[in-house]
């Protein structure tokens, strides 16, 4: 009997020590202790302050880009393979969910049918080729659903990575970027601890940051109409009109090449800097491949204008003074923050799809601190009230119950630290339910022991009987609650999940503390007790 108790006591002590070290680590002084505890218990944004955003990635953008490229490729390949056609155009079924992307090709002669099919199967393996209904010479290429799904998922992952790089570069400590919502929602949740001025960071995340260097054909014009009329209402082939920076006389428009000389993909680096006149600029360097292309274009066009286009907007147009190869600078009317952010965006790469915000919640850190202070005060008052009452009502056994309760909370905190789970306000609700059920377990056990004593059983038998009887009830209440907490955890998000995590951990810890630890303490007391002495309960 003695050795059995001893080994159980050792097990309990090991658990306690492991839990306490799990929270505190091995601190050398009080300050370090505080630091460790705060560092290991991850507080949610509602407690420590920060911004929580849900945004949607419009992944269809990425599919459209792929479809556009396929369309261009189909035109080129038809020419090289000598397949005549009357028209090739997109024929999307946009109202489908998800949209179906199609390319229609019309007016293909009967004898070229085999060639077209061979071309489609060889070079457009992601597309399904079939006859266009109601037209013998028309064919339709449909993007396979699996291929479209892959593109969408890749776009989401790529968007996540780009956003992560940008947020990291912004200097946010421990940001969370994760998928949110169901399959097919393409939503992301972003949590930025300590960030409260969201305007800047939102812009940083949201902008596509597609950099293109394009040759200017004509301009600037004061308006779109002026540009069009200067070319007789029709733009020259392979050019486009883009808005430029607002000048002293209002808006400006540039006619630029549709195809960029180099794009953001060709960058090897981008850094904020200051120009010769002290104005903030961004310096960029190009990859070897990009530099070669850039040298070719600039070398052939000395004296012409080159535009720097960011997200389809000309930020700057300057004369090419001489051949440029691997470096350049972007000059605009930027503030220091804008330069910093632009360099960051260029380094992180372009977003594959546009983004819109669906919700945003900012908790100022001072509010979080207030919440914690109030919450801690309320918890201490509540715990002290419960513990005093247990001592008064159950006397000696009250100590037992209180030990179990404190140990339960220690295990809960340690588990949160081990699993790096986040403690949120709803999580605290789970802790409160845990405390309530922990107290309930002890009350159930003690009341049962009292009942057994009333029936005239000996102390040892009464304790054993009380635990045995109460155990069945405790198992039923705990399993029921844990089962529903699991459901909340699996299907819930955010606040609901936070509640489920602490509740599940707390209840499992409670089974250990109020059933096992409490029993060992009783057994220990009983083993040291003088024969026939009463139990303090």
């Amino acid at each position: 009997m003695e050795t059995k108790i001893r080994s159980r006591v050792i097990l309990i002590v090991v658990v306690i020590v492991a839990c306490i070290l799990g929270v505190t680590g091995f601190p050398k002084n009080v300050q370090e202790l505080k630091q460790n505890a705060l560092g290991r218990i991850h507080l949610g944004l509602d407690l420590k302050g920060g911004t929580h955003m849900i945004l949607r990635v419009h992944v269809e953008d990425a599919v459209n880009v792929t479809a556009d490229q396929a369309l261009e490729r189909l035109k080129d390949e038809s020419k090289t393979k000598n397949i005549p056609y009357a028209e090739i155009k997109k024929d999307d079924l946009a109202d489908q969910q998800p949209p179906i992307h199609r390319i229609a090709i019309r007016g293909v002669p009967q004898e070229k049918t085999a060639d077209l099919q061979a071309l489609a199967t060889e070079q457009f393996s992601d597309w399904q080729v079939s006859r266009y209904p109601g037209d013998a010479t028309a064919w339709v290429l449909t993007l396979k659903t699996t291929a479209a799904a892959t593109i969408r998922n890749q776009a989401l992952v790529q968007a996540m990575e780009t956003i992560r790089r940008r947020v990291d570069a912004y200097g946010v400590t421990e940001p969370t970027i994760a998928e949110y919502g169901g399959q097919g929602d393409y939503e992301l949740v972003i949590e930025l601890p300590g960030i409260e001025d969201t305007t800047r960071v939102k812009d940083l995340i949201q902008s596509t940051a597609l950099l293109e260097l394009k040759l200017v054909q004509d301009g600037p014009f004061p308006s779109r109409e002026a540009a069009l009329s200067a070319h007789g209402g029709v733009l020259p082939p392979d050019t486009e009109l883009l808005p430029g920076p607002a000048g002293p006389t209002g808006e400006t428009w540039y006619l630029v090449n549709r195809v960029a000389a180099v794009t953001g993909r060709d960058l090897s680096g981008a850094d904020p800097s200051r120009g010769t006149d002290g104005r903030p600029i961004v310096n960029f360097t190009l990859t070897r491949d990009g530099a070669a292309r850039f040298a070719r274009v600039t070398g052939a066009n000395v004296g012409k204008f080159l535009s720097i286009v960011l997200d389809s907007r000309v930020v700057e147009a300057a004369t090419i003074k001489n051949q440029i190869s691997d470096r350049g600078e972007i000059e605009g009317s930027f503030t220091p923050e804008q330069v910093q952010d632009l360099a960051m965006k260029l380094r992180s790469g372009a977003l594959p799809a546009s983004i819109t915000y669906e919700s945003e919640a900012t908790v100022g850190p001072s509010l979080g601190l207030d919440s914690i202070r109030h919450g801690v005060l309320a918890s201490i008052v509540g715990l002290v009230a419960i513990m005093s009452f247990m001592l008064i009502y159950y006397r000696g056994s009250g100590i037992n119950a209180n030990l179990a309760l404190v140990l339960n909370l220690v295990i809960l905190l340690a588990a949160l630290a081990y699993f790096t789970a986040t403690l949120t306000l709803p999580g605290i609700a789970g802790v409160i339910l845990t405390v309530g059920m922990g107290v309930d377990s002890n009350v159930l056990i003690f009341e049962r022991i009292r009942e057994e004593l009333r029936l005239g059983k000996a102390v040892g038998a009464a304790v054993a009987g009380g635990f045995e009887q109460a155990f069945r009830t405790i198992i039923d209440t705990h399993v029921t609650t844990v089962v529903s907490a699991m459901i909340l955890f699996t299907f819930g998000t955010g606040p609901i999940k936070g509640f489920a995590v602490t509740l599940t951990i707390g209840l499992i810890a409670n089974l250990f503390t109020s059933v096992f630890v409490s029993r060992v303490i009783f057994d220990y007391i009983l083993s040291r007790r003088e024969k026939g002495a009463a139990l303090s309960i």
Binding site: T362, P365, G375, A378, G436, R450, F491
Partner: protein, 408 residues
Amino acid sequence: MEFFHEPKIDWMGKKWYFIALSLLLAAAGIVSMVVHRGLIYGIDFRGGTMIDVKFAKAPDMDGLRRELERQNLHGATMQRVGQVSEHRVIIGLDLQATASSAALDTGRRAIITALAGLYGGEPAGKVDFNNASAPTVADRLMVSDPLGLSSKGLEVAAKAYRDLAEALVGYRDSPPQSGLIADFQQLLAVKGATPGVLAALHNDFYLSNFAVKEGKIVGPKVGMDLRRQALYVTLAGLGAMLVYIWFRFELIYGVAAVVATFHDVIITLGFFSLLNKEITLTVIAALLTLVGYSMNDTIVVFDRIRENVRLNKRENFVDLVNRSINQTLSRTILTSGLTFLAVLSLFLFGGEVIHGFAFALVVGVIIGTYSSIFIASPIVVFFHQKGLQSGAGAKPRVLEREAVGARR
């Protein structure tokens, strides 16, 4: 110490009074919900824009309203919260049916502009220190370099200024400043904030006399999703509980427990509606807690009923249920009383943020305890009596299951 010594109260004899009371409470709540056209949802569920602002001195509410009107924000709601000395106001903008996320963001910017306009607007090129985050402060310090660290290399300087910015912002946010400083000189208390640093801050920043404590922009879809999710997940949780109790006891016990829990949630929601309190995300957490608590309480009573059925095969079922409730009464009062103490402490000292949460629990603990005795148990009794009349007793099935349980 002992409160109850083997009480002999005829609970089931009085059940109709309490069922009537429950129906009355539920009806009052439902009528209130109908009158209000549904529950009053917080911004999390309703969608819209909400900004909680702390002012340095008593806010000029009329001036604020005028300023909001000037920004074309008609129909913005303003509500003073917290202690008067905190000078806190919550400004809300409802979601128009057509509002896009861009429009929501515009609303927030307009509110901030209105706030800035109320106190003379912002100096050109300067950033409001009271509403700036550490990275912005660090960036500005990096550019002005008041400590002359650029010679030590970019990495060193960036790290030093980031730490300094975090310390400055941390000082601003800790009590008693609580997010607002009135003078840059206050920052001298921060380690590393030399007069040179303060001068640099003075150059790049200004001090507004408001701080945004909390801001929320919720689009229509997110609000709707959350509401739906909270409902479905809770129902799924209840369903899982029902299945488990069915497995451990029998179906009617599960049904009774779920009905009782549902009753608690309805009545608590009714109280929210009657008292014009908003249903927020934290209230949902409280309702989940209430579901767990009520279920726990009901199972304790049912467990005793199950045990007594096994021990006393011949006893009248109504007497048996009464006896079971009486036997567990001591623990019921104790546990509920203690849990009530804990949530009352939350309600009294927990502060603004968890007020709704604590309120739901204060109501919920009382209702949850009450429903185990007066809703869940009568349902089981009622079903049992029906079963005896029709000849197919419920009791033998419990015995069968118990026999299996005992062997394990």
